[in-house]
């Protein structure tokens, strides 16, 4: 007879809360038809609960490490893992989602009855990426990836008014599915090469034995990396990102980009570090190559963009390259990657929140010209965007600098000095990108004069993003310490 499975509720608490929460949002909508703003609030509450759940996991983990409670960190037959890495990822993803609700508040409100679906998809997407980050089992990863991504495909096409929104959706969907297929084929080949689907087992196996003809394993690993590189918009798998981020409703782009990036990098780093660190000599240069390509392509192409969202998307490509710089450092780079991701993800949400406020929440497209003289029209937005852009540029005294510095330092320590030099050059080129926007906002005359409204949720998002940029820029130590211990099992 099949023994009933043992259920470790704590390990899946955040997923449960988010999944049930998504259902709850849909049901509440059907039952009571509340105002969309109430639904926004509900979503935030659910995310808050999920954060509490994740916190509970952290509390449990710390007690377990202190020897106070027993229990495996790998419940469900190793299908999920409760480690600091997963907990940090979870908290970060939830934070991004919560800020995303704030940034997209106006968008969701404009959706009317469809708001419930939008918010539910947001919650489900979050849960998917949390799952992606908190498993070592590759099929589970695939599931997490798909749960997260498919929701985003839908959200990309959520706008009714804009034809571009649908274009974004189909592009995202087709290429995303293509990438997923590649990813899962990679999983299959890794399975063929190692006989296991679990990264921890891969690690044990590779530590123990030398595989004589690892080609199939390497191809599999390569395909997995490609699949994840797609999600994090690393070049040359980035091509979709500018189109999608330009076409998708402005209110959704921030968390759309940030969630995928955080989740993708969490998985990528876990695969490479936990499972295949013994092959670092092999994949290191490949990842470094992707990093170079991303940094250069991203920053160069961003230079010639005339749409802020495309510009941010390309800069995101460059940022993916910068983070990959940390990935090449292997396990010693994980802390820096987390710091970078944490800072960048929140800056990203903040920046797109400004885009949503300026260009309209449901809009597709946000030409730079509409940002001319923003400092005059709405100083708060201009100042916020400036700070966030400077943070992204990695100017000292912003957290972006610490982030960049961290990954570069790790890469250097891992022997990738040349990569750091390329990265520095790319980051100078990327300065130009951000300066262009700042020039437009501060040093040019506005086109229109109508004042822009800054809603309360937006204000909260901006304050949070600015705080992350500036406070962590001046006092990065606590987060540095936290990220330094947020290591995978």
């Amino acid at each position: 007879m099949i023994a009933p499975p043992e259920i470790n509720w704590l390990a899946i608490l955040p997923l449960l809360i988010l999944g049930l929460g998504a259902a709850a949002v849909l049901l509440v909508d059907v039952q009571w038809k509340p105002l969309p703003s109430r639904l926004n609030l509900l979503a935030v509450v659910i995310l808050g609960l999920a954060a509490l759940g994740t916190g509970a996991q952290g509390w449990w983990l710390s007690r377990r490490e202190a020897g106070e409670v027993a229990g495996s960190p790998l419940p469900f037959g190793g299908m999920v893992v409760v480690d600091r890495y997963a907990i940090f990822a979870g908290l970060l993803l939830i934070a991004v989602a919560a800020l995303g609700v704030g940034a997209g508040a106006r968008f969701f409100e404009s959706l009317g009855r469809r708001a419930a679906e939008g918010l539910a998809l947001l919650l489900l997407s979050t849960s998917g990426f949390i799952l992606l980050a908190s498993t070592t089992q590759m099929v589970m990863m695939f599931l997490g990836l798909e749960i997260g991504s498919i929701s985003l495909y839908v959200l990309a096409g959520f706008s009714r008014q804009e034809a571009r929104s649908e274009e974004a959706a189909i592009k995202y969907f087709l290429l995303g599915s293509f990438a997923s297929a590649i990813f899962v084929y990679g999983v299959a080949l890794v399975f063929a090469g190692t006989g296991s689907l679990d990264l921890l087992e891969h690690r044990t196996l590779l530590d123990r034995e030398i595989i004589l003809r690892p080609a199939v394993l390497l191809i599999g690993l390569g395909l997995v990396v490609v699949g994840l590189a797609f999600k994090v918009t690393a070049a040359p798998f980035h091509a979709w990102a500018p189109d999608v981020y330009q076409g998708a409703p402005a209110g959704t782009v921030g968390f759309m980009a940030a969630l995928a990036k955080v989740g993708g990098f969490a998985a990528l780093a876990r695969v490479l570090v936990t499972g295949f660190e013994s092959y670092v000599g092999t994949w290191g240069t490949v990842v470094a190559g992707l990093a170079v390509l991303s940094m250069l392509l991203g920053s160069f192409l961003a230079v010639v963009q005339s749409d802020l969202r495309r510009l941010l998307a390309y800069s995101g490509v460059a940022h993916a390259g910068f983070i990959l710089t940390g990935v090449v450092a292997g396990s010693s780079g994980v802390g820096s990657i987390w710091f970078y991701l944490a800072v960048y993800a929140i800056q990203l949400v903040g920046a797109y929140a400004v885009v949503a406020a300026v260009s309209g929440a449901a809009s597709a497209g946000s030409p730079l010209s509409s940002y001319a003289g923003l400092a005059r029209r709405q100083p708060l937005l201009a100042r916020a965007l400036t700070i966030l852009l400077l943070g992204m540029a990695g100017i000292p005294l912003t957290s972006g600098f610490i982030a960049k510095f961290g990954v570069f330092q790790d890469a250097f320590r891992a022997g990738f000095g040349w990569l750091v030099v390329v990265a520095m050059v790319a980051s100078v080129v990327s300065f130009f990108i951000y300066l262009r926007v700042i020039v437009a906002m501060y040093m040019q005359e506005p086109e229109g004069t109508e004042a822009l409204l800054v809603s309360r949720p937006l204000r909260v998002v901006l304050v949070a993003a600015i705080a992350v940029t500036l406070v962590l820029g001046l006092f990065p130590i606590p987060l540095l310490r936290l990220t330094a211990i947020s290591l995978p099992l």
Binding site: L15, G112, A120, M140, G193, I211
Partner: protein
């Protein structure tokens, strides 16, 4: 020997089906090609003792998914010949080049004896375990894999909610379009 013959037939069928998918001018034919491939693969599953998987393949894929495909083809009315001439410059050539490089890489690997599909040594005891009966699969499904199984619930919720959200024609409350500006089917 039987396995060889069946494999050869089914391999041929699946490849033919696959080529049909990408060659047929009429999407309906493409769908048919895909169907053939799916069936052939189901047979290959059986050949490898993956009985339950084969059954699911037929039911879910051939039954549900392909039906959906055909339904949509009919719904949007693209069941006609279409022009498959390439319009993007260099597209085919580039695609071919990439394919050739990949093939060359594979051939080089195999030719130099650096390739093995399954590099690990398999214990004979293990091989017997792969008889994919319903019972054999049920045990992991509801023990180790139970979480994955549950996770599919999220996926299906998304599918449902997403399909509704995308395809529904409900109008937003706070339309940014001024009255009369939008001329949709509802007006």
């Amino acid at each position: 020997m039987v396995e060889l013959i069946v494999f050869a037939l089914m391999a041929g069928a699946s490849l033919t089906g696959g080529v049909t998918v990408i060659r047929a001018r009429n999407p309906v034919y493409s769908a048919m090609g895909l169907l053939a491939t799916l069936f052939a693969i189901a047979v290959l599953y059986v050949l490898q003792l993956a009985h339950f998987v084969a059954a699911v393949q037929v039911i879910v894929y051939a039954g549900a998914v392909m039906t959906l495909f055909l339904f949509v083809i009919m719904l949007i009315g693209v069941d006609k010949e279409e022009n498959t001439a390439e319009t993007i410059p260099h597209q085919r050539r580039l695609a071919l080049a990439v394919g050739l490089i990949a093939a060359g890489l594979g051939i080089a690997l195999v030719a130099r004896g650096r390739f093995s599909w399954v590099p690990l040594v398999v214990t004979p005891a293990g091989a017997a375990q792969t008889n994919g009966t319903v019972q054999a699969l049920a045990e992991p499904m509801f023990t180790d894999w139970v979480l994955a199984f549950e996770a599919t619930a999220l996926l299906l919720t998304i599918a449902a909610a997403g399909a509704i959200a995308l395809a529904s024609t409900r109008k937003p409350i706070l339309s940014r379009v001024p009255p009369g500006g939008e001329t949709g089917p509802g007006s």
